[in-house]
Symmetry: C2
Subunit: 356 residues, 2 copies
Amino acid sequence: MSRFLSSQLANLEPYVPGEQPQERKYIKLNTNEYPYPPSPKVRDILDTKEIDDLRLYPDPQTRGLVTAMSEYYGLREEQILLGNGSDEILAFFFMAFCDQKRKIGFPDISYGFYPVYASLFGIDALKIPLREDFSINAEDYFNLDRNIVIANPNAPTGLYLELEDIERIAQTNPDHVVLIDEAYIDFGGASALTLLPKYENLLVCGTFSKSRALAGARIGFAFGSPDLIEDLNKIKFSFNPYNINRLSLLAGVASIEDNHYFESHLAKIIETREETSRALRELDFYVTDSKTNFLFAKHEKMAGEDLYLKLKDQGILVRHFNQERISDYLRITIGTPEEMDEFLETMTAIIRGDLT
Amino acid sequence: MSRFLSSQLANLEPYVPGEQPQERKYIKLNTNEYPYPPSPKVRDILDTKEIDDLRLYPDPQTRGLVTAMSEYYGLREEQILLGNGSDEILAFFFMAFCDQKRKIGFPDISYGFYPVYASLFGIDALKIPLREDFSINAEDYFNLDRNIVIANPNAPTGLYLELEDIERIAQTNPDHVVLIDEAYIDFGGASALTLLPKYENLLVCGTFSKSRALAGARIGFAFGSPDLIEDLNKIKFSFNPYNINRLSLLAGVASIEDNHYFESHLAKIIETREETSRALRELDFYVTDSKTNFLFAKHEKMAGEDLYLKLKDQGILVRHFNQERISDYLRITIGTPEEMDEFLETMTAIIRGDLT
C-alpha cells in the first residue's frame, strides 16, 4: 500500500479469484468453467477481416450483440446492457443504485464479490443468513428497505430459489432494486426475466462465461426496464464506454446464433452433473441439489481442506472456501465425463486411504 | 432516469464518444484510430486453439502481456497494471487516490473524460486554463495540493509538454499522485516513464488503441512504483479481476513482439501527419504543432461546426467540440495517405466554395 491510497480503502479486501496455477497441468474443476469449447461458429466469425478491424473502436452501443440477444430473449433492445463480464454489471449496479441511504442486503453465503463491492463503494451491507440447509428463506427479504442482490441458483450452494419467491421479494420491496444474478440459470432454473414486465424494480443479470463457454471473452449482461437500463448506461458511459471489445462482441453473436450447440452441450453437462452427484453420494458425500454446472459436497468423515489438498496433489483442482459453515464443503465444477471419471477415481482412492 | 438512481448521480453527464455511425460508410477521421491493421502476428496468434480456450477465464494477473511489456519497457512486472482500455486505468486512478480530501486538478481543455470521472466519484476538480496558445503552463501545477492528471501530448490540442516540466510538477507535489496520460506518446514525445525511478508519486498511463492499432481490443496500462501499482491492483481485484479478455492479452503480446511493424507504421503516420499539416496551412488553416496521430486546426475564415458538417455531408467524419475556446477547431485523425488526399481535396473544395 502506498501512502497515497485513499484512507477510505485501507480496509478493503479484494475478491480472491479461483487459483489459476501456471506451473503444472491440472484438471481444472475450480472456477466453474465450461468443459467444451465454444460453438465452432465463434471460430468461423473471427476471421482475418475482423482481426484487421481491431484497429477500430468497438461500437459503444454494442449493437450487434444486443440485437441478437433481444431476439433470443424476447426483450426490447433498451432492456439490455452488456458488461465486461457480469462482474462489471454488478459493479455498475452498486454504483447506480446504492449509496449512504440506499443500502444493500444479500445472503451471508453467496458470491464472494457482493461484500467486496459493498466495501469498495462504502455501502452498508446486511448479510442475511441462509437456512441450516443452505436454502434462502424468501421471507427474510420481504420489506427489507434495502436494495437486494440474490444469486439464483446461489453459489457456491447450487440451490435454486423458485420464481414465486423471487416475485414476492420484488413485490414487497417496490422502492428498491432487486437484482437476480443468474450466472448459472441455464443449467436448470427458470429465469426471472419473465417477471420483468410486472416489476419495474427488478433487474436480472447473467453471463456468457458459464453456459456459453466464453469465460475468456468476458461478456456479462443485465436485463431490466428501459429506465433501469438507462441508469446503468449512465454509469457505463461515465466509466468505460467501450467496455466490450470487438472480438467478444462477435463471439457473443456467434454463440447466440448457434442454439443447437448451446442446448445439446448444456444437456450433456447436466447429465454429467447428475451422474457425478450420484457417484459422490455413493462415496458418502452429502451433495446439495445443484441446478448449476458445479456440485457442492461434503464428506461425512473427511475435512474439506484435507480433500482439497489431496486432490490438488493428484493434479485436480476444486474450490474450497475457508469460511464458516461451509469449510467442510468442496465446490466441484462439472468437467467432461472423462475428467469426472478421473476425479471420482482419485476421490475414491483418497477416501479409501489408498493415497496419503 | 429511474426513481432508483442514486441522487448523487442526478447531474452526472456521461462522456460522449466520437460518432460511430452505422448507416453509411465514412472516411473515419474522428476517433484517432490507427489507419493500418494491427501486426499480422496478431492474426497468427489468434488460432483455433486460442479461440477454443475462450471457455477458460483469462489470467487475472495478465501475466503473458505484463511479462512482454516488462521486457520491452525495461520495467519490473510489479510496475505494470493492465486495464480494459486506458479509460479503466483512469477510473481506477480516481477510485484509488481521490476522495473528499484528495482532490484533483487538470487542464481545462484536455481529454473530456477527466471531469466525468470527477463527477462520477464526487471528487472536487480544479480545471486549470491552458495558455492562449493552448500550451500548458507547468508552473500552474507547482505545489497544487491536489492529485493531477495531464495528457501528454494533450488532446485535442496535440501539444507536447517537455519532460523537465513534468518532472518539476512531480517534484513540487510530493504528497499527491501525478498521472501522465500518454495515449499519444509514441507519435513523437518522450515518455515520462524514465522519471519513474526518481518520483514515487508519478504514474504514467498509456494504451494499445492509438499507436498499436488495437482500439478494438481494449488494452490500457499504467506504469508506476510497485506501491502505486499495488494500490491500483487493489481496486482492480475489487472491481473486475478478469478485466482483460484472453484474445486481447494475446493480441497485445503479438503487437509488442512485432517491433518492426510498430516502428515502420508509426513512421508512415508521422510522415502523413506532417504532409497533411503543411497542406492545411496552405489552405489558410492555423494548425497546432501536433505530436500525436491527429491534427488540431482552425480555418482563418470558416467556422469549425460549418466545416465539420460539410465534411460529414461528403462522407468524411472529423471531430468537432462544441466547447468554449475550441469551437472553431477541428480534430482530424491522420488516416492513410489516400484518405488524407481525399480529405484535403474535399476540404479544398469546401473552402473554395465549390461545395455548398
